[in-house]
Symmetry: C2
Subunit: 110 residues, 2 copies
């Protein structure tokens, strides 16, 4: 079972990406995995949580030190190409929200 | 297939709840559904996106007009009881982050 992202004390930023898949193909899964791997190598990356349910609705929340880190990742060539493929083929609908995390709380069962 | 939340122009707030389930029982599903229904009736509620993958990792992001709306929902008696049950029985780990949404973008395929 995967673990939840561990982040430093706020403030920091969250990129909240919610999506509905249109078609399911091998390219999507490979690209999605590669983007998570690549994001984790970017300056300012703090962590990521991602879930996709059986209906095709997915939510990925990535955490970043500041807005500049998010902008730099947005301009990354491989990420830009993946976003174009997402718009053209993989997503029926998506929303992206950029938010400043002000408070955070974590619970771990004993 | 479900739809993604539609929200007004920022700024507004997001409550980002990520969780790992510990056990699976009927009480959980009923309570989770009831909490989504009840949240939607609260003043200041703007929308919600929720996904849980096969591994038991779930993300629910609810959107709110302001911090007061989030605080009031937190104090709701039925929600308080559900959170206690979540801590005692349903969750191995969870994180809750309160964030101010500053930018939002939506894509719909043609």
């Amino acid at each position: 079972m995967s673990e939840l992202a561990t982040t430093p004390e706020p403030p920091y930023y969250a990129a909240i990406f919610a999506s509905l898949r249109s078609i399911d193909d091998a390219g999507y899964a490979l690209t999605a995995e590669r983007m998570l791997e690549l994001a984790a190598q970017q300056p300012g990356f703090l962590g990521v949580d991602s879930a996709r349910d059986a209906s095709g609705l997915g939510i990925t929340v990535s955490y970043w030190r500041d807005l500049d880190s998010i902008s730099a990742w947005r301009r990354h060539a491989e990420h830009t190409a993946a976003r174009q493929a997402g718009r053209a083929r993989w997503y029926r609908c998506f929303t992206l929200r950029i938010a400043r995390v002000e408070r955070a709380h974590r619970f771990e069962a004993e």
